[in-house]
Amino acid sequence: MANSSRASVRTRSLSSVTGRLTVPERFGDAGQTYGALAALILIVLYNAFFTRNFLTEQALRVNLTQVATIVIVATGMTLVIATGGIDLSVGSLMAISGALAAIIFMSQRGPLDNALIGNTLAFVVPVLVAGAFGLFNGTLITAFRLQPIIATLVLFLAGRGIAQVMTNGELRTFRNPGFQYIGMGRPFGIPFQVILMLVIVAIVAWVMRSTTFGRYVLATGDNEAAARLAGVPIDRIKLAVYGINGLLAGIAGLIVIAINSSSDANQVGQLMELDAIAAVAVGGTPLTGGRATIVGTLIGALIIQLLRYTLLSHGVPDAAARVVIAGAIVLAVLLQRQRGT
């Protein structure tokens, strides 16, 4: 009895979330999103027929679990790119967040010895710290007028160094079910990070569509001079998007160390900035700013993920798969550019 009611809750909650996501944000964005959506459907159909064990719960879970961190980071990256910026530091911020979390919940001192307090702080503090680093990026860009690619290169380089110093460059393994729920938990049989991913995507998509902030982000990226004259607080908007991007990178860092049961400052978030940018581009958000489709980014990340999964499960070596994926990214962006402006 209890089981069956739980199952029905699961189907309802999933469909209500995904149902909202497939609604196009605006008519203007629909074209961009539908192209990517069609590509995604094609890949799914191909796999359904030609990849063994694709339509199993396990394959679904593997793919969704692997894509969750990319989607979470790429969602923040979409906002940054919508303002006309870029953020190279997300991978390093994930490493900092992961390193800090492990230090906090592995600490035996004072109140941190209490598992509940320790774990709570291990969730909250690293995310806030990553958010603060994001604000640092935003400050370099707004107050010191550095170009975003240079400003965030600072933490791309220094951030991983900071994480390594924090952990003395050592790999730390742990077993902490309370903390690791974020990467291993399965409420209603769904991996927790997948739920987290969907919630973040839904919230950010709603924010972009319905709030003043969302409109300001797009106006800033589309025509900064005009937006400023219309009263848009350009600098605060930029600070906010880099801050949000930092927060989301922080969350992604926690998920990664929870899955790995270890915090490795050298590996956590490695190349994440590029995966995220690729997902944004494939999803239909132009890197020139002024337009953004959060749902598109989700789809873009899924396309890249499934393409890799398809190739690997058909025995294509990883090295060759990378080349194919790179080609697919170029193709996707070219197609969108032809249809777009």
Binding site: G28, N223, A227, G231, V232
Partner: protein, 518 residues
């Protein structure tokens, strides 16, 4: 047009030059004739076609039609390099040299003197020194270019041009970033060029400079050459009249615009009083006052500081000195957002550059400035937004496929109406309009002018910047005239006419001068 120079003395003859860009005709039969060893001024309003003509001359653009004869040969330059090799050099406003390399390297960039395949430094430095000394400039040619001030960097650019065996140097607003002493240095260099037989085409918006250094002037308007004269034979007032396309003493024609007859009684308490606005060289003590229910015209030539006054009042640029009182209180807005909250709107001059948000819809463009008012806890109230958008589309007669159409797909006139609505929906007290009817069709223009009129009747204070004399004479209750960043005249309603405005633009006071200056 008078032939002032015999053909055989001409270095350059450009005739019947035409050039179109998608949707615009930039040049419709322009002519330019420059004699050997003369300094030739090229003047005209914004959009007259000066820059396009120069870009055709120096190979940056290809012409659609017309002939160019340079140094006795018909020419058709395909690139600026080719033009330079043939003796046409251009000095741009923004200096395009390499800041980190030495002065000498910059002069010889790309054709350094070599010995055995290596740069012959002593020879290069020696030659660079000689060229600069020829221009009466004495600097250490081994130091990086970035160590020099802007004026000296410009001299280096000129030295580079001269070292190409240049016959003609084009200077596009070379003085815009120079102070007075630096301008003097530049002028002495120009005189040096002239003495050595080099011709100079000199583009500037500062009238006084023309008379100091130029021999003859070509005046352009709307893509055509309208006059060519020796500098000494045309007074400032006539020059301005030719640029604007007005005849001196022309009878005022009523009804050329959508404005009704003036005669509004403004209240006494000023809404805006700006005094002594100063910022860099652009603003050097500008004053303007606007009362509620009054349309104040802001007149002046290009570069006189009109837009800068508007931006300073609106908080888009910070002033270095001066005082702004708004509704009787001293205010200095630190950002446009602050000015908007205080009830000021500013519709900018160039819709594309700082007006529209191209990829957003009509709805979102129209309500962009009103979003703080239209939202609760940061969430936009869609219903109220929709209601306001529908109301203004209806009231201003905006022609659009619907509120969700992207604004960049609208015509210029309709874009301008959306931008006006962006401010009107906030119910502002002061509206600053920078060229409110530029580049839009006649019908929409009259509609917008009527609208401005109605708004002023309802008590809105309007500061209207315009390059069109009719718009100022028929639309304004008062006209403030700027010249070189200073307010030089304030013309009351009864005295507003083309002559008073143009006289003030040219001379700095509104007393009509009958005789052109010698």
């Amino acid at each position: 047009m008078t032939d002032t120079v015999p053909d055989r003395d001409l270095l350059l003859r450009m005739e019947e030059i035409t050039k179109g860009f998608p949707g615009v005709i930039a040049l419709a039969g322009a002519q330019l004739r420059v004699a050997r060893g003369e300094v030739h001024a090229l003047v005209g309003q914004n959009g007259a076609g000066k820059s396009t003509l120069m870009k055709i001359l120096n190979g940056a653009y290809r012409r659609d039609g017309g002939t160019i004869v340079f140094d006795g040969q018909p020419v058709d330059f395909h690139s600026t390099q080719q033009a330079q090799a043939s003796g046409v050099s251009t000095i741009f406003q923004e200096i395009n040299l390499v800041p980190y390399r030495s002065v000498a390297e910059n002069i010889f960039l790309g054709r350094e003197p070599r010995r055995l395949g290596f740069i012959d430094w002593p020879r290069m430095n020696q030659q660079a020194r000689e060229i600069l000394e020829g221009l009466n400039v004495h600097v250490d040619v081994r130091q990086p270019l970035m160590n020099l001030n802007v004026a000296l960097q410009q001299m280096v650019a000129i030295a580079r041009a001269v070292s190409f065996e240049t016959k003609l140097v084009i200077m596009d607003e070379p003085t815009s970033s120079l102070d007075e002493r630096e301008v003097e240095t530049l002028f002495s260099v120009i005189r040096g060029l002239k003495a050595s037989g080099v011709s100079v085409i000199f583009i500037t918006h500062r009238l006084d400079e023309l008379y100091v250094v130029c021999d003859r002037v070509t005046i352009m308007r709307d893509g055509r050459t309208v006059d060519e004269r020796p500098m000494g034979e045309i007074g400032k007032l006539e020059l301005v009249a030719r640029m604007l396309g007005k005849e001196l003493g022309e009878v005022r024609r009523a009804g050329a615009t959508g404005f009704a007859e003036r005669g509004r009684q403004a209240t006494d308490h000023p809404l805006l009083e700006a005094e002594g606005l100063t910022r860099g060289r652009a603003l050097q003590g500008a004053d303007v006052t606007v009362r509620p229910g009054e349309i104040v015209g802001l007149a002046g030539l290009l570069g006189s500081g009109r837009t800068e006054v508007a931006r300073a009042v609106f908080g888009a640029d910070q002033i270095e000195d001066g005082e702004i009182r708004y509704q009787g209180q001293r205010r200095r807005f630190r950002s446009p957002a602050e000015a908007i909250r205080a009830g000021i709107g500013f519709s900018s001059e160039d819709r594309k550059v700082d007006g529209i948000i191209p990829h957003l819809s009509v709805r979102e463009n129209l309500t962009l400035a009103a979003l703080p008012v239209l939202s609760r806890a940061g969430v936009v109230d869609r219903e109220r937004q929709r209601e306001i958008v529908d109301r203004f589309i209806d009231r201003l007669g905006i022609k659009t496929a619907g509120p969700e159409q992207k604004i960049r797909e609208l015509s210029g006139g309709n874009q301008q109406k959306v931008l006006l609505a962006r401010w009107l929906c906030l119910n502002p007290k002061l509206l600053i309009l920078d060229e409110p009817t530029r580049g839009i069709d006649v019908g929409a223009k009259a509609e917008i002018q009527r609208l401005i009129d109605e708004l002023a009747d309802d008590g809105l204070g309007v500061l209207m910047i315009s390059s069109e004399i009719e718009e100022l004479t028929e639309g304004s209750d008062r006209v403030v005239v700027l010249r070189d960043g200073k307010t030089v005249a304030e013309i009351d309603h009864d005295a507003i006419n083309q002559d008073t405005i143009m006289t003030a633009m040219a001379h700095g006071d509104s007393e009509p001068a009958v005789q052109p200056e010698p």
